[in-house]
Assembly symmetry: C2
Homo-oligomer: 146 residues x 2
DNA sequence: CTATACTCTACTATTATACTAGACTTTTAA
DNA sequence: TTAAAAGTCTAGTATAATAGTAGAGTATAG
């Protein structure tokens, strides 16, 4: 039941872009440095967001990426679905292939996993990049108070 | 974010034992046949439940396993924790090693994963073997009505 | 004492994960 | 116009996890 490094790095990359959304195009190099993630690995993660039109991109000198959506419109659920393929805890309840286990009609435990998928999906779709930024700044504020 | 085959098989095995809890000791052979799971693989899964005192066991002729707890006291959360090691979506928030990522103080996304762990844990700890049996028989009843 | 069934350790094939490498394309500023 | 910066694309690779199988050993009822 682990979220892959790919998914977690993707989220950190998008939060970084959300935080710098008014700074023009952000080079992967800079995100990689700030987030302490291999730039080469990020290169491999970014295409999926590029193709889903979640990012704007500029090639060449002073190129980079920019969020194409508002941070409060982009949920963690979308991010993880794009990197992980699905939020389903089992292949047999993936979104595409409705049912592809021949035991499903008779499977006593299926409803448990359907329920799990629902709570995970509901939760992850309820958290946006903006929420993460807000929380981050809120905890900085707390640091000052302390 | 997948539940492993090991965890799913374990749950099916325990549901099977719950269903036959008044039939004395149940041989792995029979569970394997009913659930269509390799007996050899079940042999590898069962020790963790044996050692956690969730099962009673009898060796030798007419031996087998029997639930040592009431089906309404045994949650899916316990089963998956025992097979999967943790319900945490990240190693850095596993139960044992409180924090073992040096970014954690500064990690904007950490609270997202803590929240995910909570919804998953709350859900899986809310479903018992008895719930699964009840649901199963309820849907059989529905089949008759239709 | 033998058949049955649990126990334990080791092995193996396949897949996923987490990267790295390098060639190529695009853009811009000097 | 060209060099440097930065994205794009394909391929390779080491490690670990997954999902098993194999076989020898132990306990017990009859």
């Amino acid at each position: 039941m682990r979220i892959s490094t790919k998914g977690r790095y993707a989220l950190r990359m998008l939060v970084d872009l959300a935080e710098h959304k008014n700074d023009g195009f952000i080079a992967l190099k800079d995100i990689a440095k700030r987030q302490n993630i291999s730039k080469k690995y990020l290169e491999q993660i970014v295409p999926v967001f590029n193709k889903s039109h979640m990012l704007q991109t500029n090639r060449g000198f002073q190129g980079g990426y920019r969020l194409a959506v508002e941070p409060n419109k982009c949920t963690v659920g979308e991010v993880i679905r794009l990197t992980e393929g699905s939020l389903s805890p089992l292949a047999c309840i993936d979104d595409e292939n409705e049912v592809h286990c021949d035991r499903s009609a008779d499977c006593a435990t299926l409803y448990v996993w359907q329920g799990l998928k629902k709570v995970v999906t509901d939760y992850l779709d309820s958290v946006t990049l903006q929420d993460i930024l807000d929380k981050k700044h809120e905890s900085y504020a707390n640091d000052y108070v302390i």
